[in-house]
């Protein structure tokens, strides 16, 4: 389970090819299913890159959670852990951010934003702590446990927006909007791009430094690359390293959810995420688990998500179509490995 067997980074062109192949297969499929392919692809392109506004306010806004979640998957995978539960941690983070965001009206903005994002991270980490405990105590693989908790996360949001966090009139399944002080500022007037994107870039740099320039990062990579060797070396508590990596991964995914609330939606809704937790797996794999490339692939998939939304709006193609491209990318990345080695 630990070895993802991904091709080397210098073959990144191959990754771009995988993405292109995904789009081609999607087009072919739309053609076979009888959709208007020309109009669909036109909507897809214009929704993502049609103008500077589309690029910043649609593509980069969607890239923000994908980059953060892509980093979450990367961190866990480096330690040999598969976090398939980011969708659930994202939901937990969104709940945490909303809860704090509703109660910081009298707090100065920077502190309020900080508190909101940190709460999201704590909620994400708390949410993944069950799988971490199950793994440490009973040896239960984190794969199934994190996967199952996705559904619990969705149910938790559903409960929150019809129960404790529901808006005061108790009519709509959503929360009240969070306080102004907790909202991330927009980057430029008339743009929907928010400071969360800056945070995502900062997190990329931080993860890069952590993994490649600290002893802790070295131990994470060693535990992931060769758990037996790391254990035998006698200086690496492999189980504890894996547990910590999972906790941080859950925290990052939670931050992803928190940033979505404090930067985009300003309130908690059901279906806040259109499947970011799974898309991010493709983001991280296409980036070959390299944080700096996650920034690039995050934007690629952000464009895909933005385009898919436009496709649904303008060409009546369901947005789930984006999943086809994601799946093709993941499968091609897995298949191309053998040729490389």
């Amino acid at each position: 389970m630990t070895d993802l067997r991904l091709p080397r980074v210098r073959d990144f062109g191959q990754g771009v090819g995988a993405f292109a192949l995904g789009i081609v297969l999607l087009a072919l499929f739309l053609l076979l299913a009888g959709f208007d392919v020309g109009a669909s692809l036109d909507a897809l392109w214009r929704g993502a890159f049609g103008s500077w506004y589309e690029f910043t306010s649609a593509t980069l806004v969607r890239a923000t959670p994908l980059i953060i979640l892509g980093l979450a998957f990367t961190l866990a995978s480096k330690a040999g852990m598969l976090n398939i539960g980011m969708e659930g941690q994202f939901a937990a983070g969104a709940i945490g951010a909303t809860w704090i965001g509703l109660h910081v009206g009298s707090v100065p903005p920077v502190l309020a934003m900080l508190a909101t994002v940190i709460a999201a991270g704590l909620f994400g980490a708390a949410f993944i702590s069950f799988p971490v405990l199950l793994r440490a105590r009973f040896g239960v693989s984190e794969v199934i446990s994190t996967l199952l908790l996705n559904f619990v996360g969705v149910a938790a949001v559903s409960y929150a927006v019809t129960g404790p966090l529901q808006e005061p009139t108790r009519v709509y399944p959503q929360s009240r909007t969070i306080e102004l002080s907790a909202r991330l500022p927009h980057l430029g007037a008339g743009s929907r791009l928010h400071a969360g994107f800056i945070l995502a870039v900062v997190l990329v740099v931080l993860l890069l430094l952590l993994l490649n320039h600290t002893g802790y990062g070295f131990r994470i990579r060693a535990a992931g690359a060769g758990p037996r060797a790391a254990l035998i070396s006698g200086r690496m508590p492999v189980t504890a390293i894996g547990a910590m990596a999972l906790l941080w991964s859950g925290a990052l995914a939670g931050v992803g959810g928190g940033v979505e609330v404090s930067g985009v939606s300003y309130a908690l809704y059901q279906n806040l995420s259109p499947g970011y937790g799974f898309t991010a797996i493709a983001v991280a794999l296409l980036a070959r688990l390299r944080p700096e490339l996650v920034l690039v692939t995050g934007v690629m998939f952000g464009a895909l998500e933005a385009g898919a939304a436009a496709m649904q709006r303008d060409a009546a193609v369901p947005a789930v179509a984006a999943l086809v491209v994601e799946a093709v990318v993941i499968l091609v990345m897995l298949l191309s490995t053998r040729r490389v080695r």
Binding site: M1, D3, L4, R5, F29, L30, A33, G34, F35, L82, I84, F130, L134, R137, F138, G139, V140, S141, V143, I144, S145, L147, L148, L149, N150, F151, V152, A155, A156, S158, Y159, T162, G163, F278, I281, A282, L285, A316, V317, P318, V320, A321, A322, L323, V324, V325, E326, A327, V328, I330, L331, L334, L335, T337, R338
Partner: protein, 304 residues
């Protein structure tokens, strides 16, 4: 509904709701015994549900069942190409296959039936009482007034047990799952055995999807498998990779889901989301209990 009938109705509902879980989980048990963990079982189930809906929409119930089964096998074949043929990471391959099916069925359903299958009304299997057995007190109404797909599921339990533990093929499956290199040395074609076991699992998952549509819901909606395939994987661990254990565990999960209907109907103060989350939490707890005692096939998840 009087108090005397309620337990019977509850168990009957548990059996009905547990049927797709049991069908998928028995198949996944066969797959996992060969050393392959297929998270694409969720996708195979969804494809089976879609195939069954499309088949029944155009050609009636039998066509629906066949189409569901074939769709499940096709999805498992795609998984097998990547995970067994190319020896890629099984967890990620299965996740990707499930994503692909979610996208494709979502697109096709919209194309064929319009938005989210609204108004789609399919023929469904009526409960078919088994003459003689249906009159047995309690057991009759609970277990033998079910759809024909539930009876197929009953039949699969001994058949899968026989296949796994009393045939040469079963021995090869188990050898491939415990020690693929030793199996290879003994002349077993491990990749072929694992592929066959995966296809069997896909067929069962396809049937599971068919039973979800044709014996329970009567329509198709986007993402309608709703994680049942993933729950099936937890059920396999709880049932300790044995068809009988898996069937029992499925009944427990069926009961957990049936609780939801009962409590919703009785209007308790407990938020309904608790019951939605219950099967998943139960699955988590089950993994903690089950995996601690029995670790499953030694080479589970390892490419060979």
């Amino acid at each position: 509904m009087s108090d005397a009938i309620l337990p019977v109705a509850f168990v009957a509902a548990a059996v009905r709701v547990g049927t797709p879980l049991a069908l998928a989980a028995i198949g996944e048990a066969v797959t996992e015994k060969s050393g392959v963990i297929n998270l694409g079982v969720e996708g195979a189930m969804l494809a089976g549900a879609f195939g069954a809906a499309a088949g029944a929409f155009h050609g009636g119930l039998l066509a629906g069942v066949m189409a569901g089964l074939i769709a499940g096998v096709a999805v498992a074949a795609l998984f097998a190409v990547v995970a067994i043929g190319a020896r890629a990471n099984q967890v990620i391959s299965g996740t990707a296959v499930t994503l692909a099916v979610t996208g494709l069925t979502g697109l096709l359903a919209q194309r064929i039936w319009g938005t989210a299958g609204a108004g789609l009304s399919l023929p469904t299997f009526a409960p078919l009482p088994v003459p003689g057995l249906e009159t047995v007190p309690f057991l009759g109404p609970a277990f033998f007034r079910q759809s024909v797909l539930t009876y197929a599921c009953y039949l699969m339990i001994p058949v899968a047990t026989w296949l796994l533990f009393h045939t040469r093929f079963g021995l090869e499956i188990r050898a491939s799952g415990e020690s693929p290199s030793a199996a290879t040395a003994a002349g077993v074609a491990v990749a072929r055995t694992r592929t066959l076991a995966t296809l069997i699992g896909g067929a069962c998952a396809g049937l599971a999807g068919a039973s979800l549509v044709l014996a329970q819901v009567g329509t198709f909606t986007e993402r309608m498998s709703g994680g049942r395939g993933f729950i099936a994987i937890a059920i396999v661990a709880l049932g300790r990779w044995h068809p009988w254990g898996v069937a029992m565990a499925s009944l427990v999960f069926g009961a957990a889901t049936a609780l939801q209907y009962m409590f919703q109907a009785s209007g308790t103060a407990v938020p309904y989301q608790v019951f939605i989350a219950l099967p998943y939490l139960l699955a988590l707890a089950a993994l903690g209990i089950a995996v601690g005692r029995h670790r499953g096939p030694a080479a589970l998840g390892q490419p060979h």
